[in-house]
């Protein structure tokens, strides 16, 4: 048997196998737990999952409770939040990354602060939104105020992920464009942004997903927990899926537990659908780029 035979390396290979096992477990465990929880919830909510539930309105009787206002409200919130947060967030990130100095003290201070803002508990954003949008700007407890608050909430995330996406664009490309005689704006718009788009979209999806699941700030803003009509304008009162779910879980009647489970299921499905849609969109954009005219 030669000196290269594997048996001469038994100890090292055992450690290797052990390490792989640990890593596998680290991946498998949360997945199993997650799937278990989700599965359990879906099963629990099964009795209530029907068309009436999706098209009905909240009710004091769990058998008749529906979540249409919440569904519509959540979707409206998402769209508005995206419309507010994305342009501002991407714009800010572009300014900081492409036009600002990356190494000056101010730049570093800003960077630290944005990172911190991303970690601030969301209820504080609710309080800020209450004072600023609801009261000071006089928007009232409206969809717009809610969307504006959520936009503020996800803004740091959008800025951070957009900056990351911009950083993945190698400097050599900016150099190449500069050497061709392009101005900073021409470089940013025609070279950097197109390349960073997938990353920016990912960040947008992340932000939107987060906004969708937020409850506390909306409660502070004054979203309704019981709504018998569908929100019909940016200035209307509103509600959202998480709030309805929150409401159902705090009812004593065990039937509402089923309702809540069904609501959670709908929320999860909606989130998934949104994410999928955004990913498909991103895929289309990247494919179009490869064979561009």
């Amino acid at each position: 048997m030669s000196a290269l035979h594997p048996r001469h390396n038994r100890a090292a290979r055992r450690w290797e196998a052990l390490f792989r096992g640990v890593c596998l477990g680290a991946v498998a465990l949360p997945l199993i737990v997650l799937l278990g929880l989700v599965g359990d919830t879906v099963l629990r909510g099964l009795p209530k999952l029907d068309l009436d539930f999706l098209t009905g309105f909240p009710s004091r009787k769990w058998e008749r409770a529906g979540l249409l206002p919440g569904l519509v409200g959540s979707v409206q919130l998402i769209v508005l939040t995206a419309a507010l947060a994305l342009p501002v967030g991407v714009g800010a990130a572009v300014y900081l990354e492409e036009y600002g100095s990356r190494t000056s003290r101010i730049a570093r201070v800003i960077e630290v602060n944005i990172a911190n803002l991303a970690g601030v508990p969301s209820i504080l954003y609710g309080l800020l939104g209450l004072e600023l949008f609801v009261r000071a700007l006089g928007l009232g407890r409206s969809l717009l105020a809610g969307a504006a608050t959520l936009a503020l909430l996800v803004l740091p995330v959008v800025i951070l992920t957009t900056r990351e996406a911009l950083r993945t664009v190698p400097d050599s490309l900016r150099e190449a464009a500069a050497a061709l005689g392009a101005t900073r704006w021409q470089i940013t718009r025609q070279v950097v942004l197109p390349m960073a788009l997938p990353g920016i979209l990912t960040g947008a999806i992340l932000a939107v997903s987060r906004a969708m699941g937020e409850t506390a700030p909306l409660v502070v803003i004054g979203a309704l927990t019981f709504m018998t009509y569908v929100p019909d304008g940016v200035d209307s009162y509103f509600t959202a899926l998480p709030i309805l779910i929150f409401n159902w879980t705090s009812r004593p009647d065990p039937g509402f537990a089923t309702t809540a489970a069904a609501g959670i299921t709908v929320l999860l499905v909606t989130l998934l659908a949104l994410n999928l849609g955004a990913i498909v969109l991103r895929g289309r954009l990247m494919a179009r780029r490869q064979g561009s005219p």
């Binding site: 100095s101 990356r102 190494t103 000056s104 190698p170 050599s172 490309l173 150099e175 190449a176 464009a177 500069a178 050497a179 061709l180 005689g181 392009a182 101005t183 021409q186 470089i187 025609q190 070279v191 197109p194 390349m195 780029r289 490869q290 064979g291 561009s292 005219p293």
Partner: protein
């Protein structure tokens, strides 16, 4: 040396980053329609000098430049010259080929014009495209796949694409910063052959760490050492009987 105006003239050029001085008083003339090579050990300032010729040096925070730089006898280092416009007359090719990955071959070549908002009619675009790719000795290899992504080309082809891209803008001077460093010997030979042809229409300044390459492609060679221009002479003389001992020691491989 003819009495006509040099294409580029550097007079007492000093440059650096922050409090670090990289170039200490460079005096160098670059003749038109000639290939001038700049050689020297790492850190001698040759790339910094090259990047000052199209004012790319100032894009780095903290970079500074003093002294005089002239293109066709006109000062280009001052605030009354728009560096963006200068770079359209003085193009640059980099060490690592950097075609725009999101664009096709076609779009890459035309990128210089489109980026700067100088759109041409369809016919003119096709003309420019073909002319630039032909000048870069790439036309025959890609004429049937112009819409394919640029990143699908080999390293040597990508570098020639970058050259075509630079040429499409219509510069008079082409700066090359170690253009063959990342390429294999055959791709390198193609580009050197290309330089021989381009010389007739453009003024070329090439920074290279390969002395053999400088000897092969250039008519005049300048030797930089620690921020100083030690010696500049026609290539034949510099490589057979250099006047300065430091040059002799460097090109025979006694240091560097």
């Amino acid at each position: 040396m003819s009495a006509s105006t040099p294409k580029l003239r550097a007079a007492d050029v000093r440059a650096g980053f922050g409090d670090k001085e990289v170039l200490r008083g460079i005096h160098l003339d670059v003749a038109p329609q000639e290939v001038t090579a700049i050689i020297g050990p790492s850190g001698c300032g040759k790339s910094t000098f090259l990047r000052n010729l199209n004012r790319m040096h100032e894009l780095v925070p903290g970079a500074w430049l003093r002294g005089s730089l002239q293109l066709d006898g006109v000062e280009i280092a001052g605030a009354d010259v728009d560096p963006v416009l200068l770079r359209r007359r003085v193009g640059m090719v980099f060490q690592k080929p950097n075609p725009f990955p999101t664009m096709s071959i076609r779009d890459n070549v035309l990128a210089g014009l489109r980026l700067t908002g100088r759109t041409l009619g369809r016919a003119d675009e096709e003309l420019t495209l073909q002319r630039s790719l032909t000048q870069a000795a790439l036309w025959d290899e890609v004429k049937d796949r112009l819409r394919d992504p640029a990143v699908g080309l080999s390293g040597g082809q990508q570098q020639r694409l970058c050259i075509a891209r630079s040429l499409a803008v219509g510069p008079e001077v082409l700066l090359m910063d170690e253009p063959c460093s990342a390429l294999d010997p055959i791709a390198t030979a193609r580009i050197e052959d290309l330089i021989h042809v381009l010389r007739e229409s453009y003024t070329i300044v090439i920074v290279t760490h390969s002395m053999q390459q400088a000897a092969r492609v250039s008519g005049r060679t300048a030797f930089f050492l620690m921020g100083e221009l030690v010696e500049v002479d026609d290539t034949q003389s510099l490589f057979t009987r250099p006047r300065d001992k430091r040059t002799e020691d460097y090109i025979t491989g006694r240091f560097g």
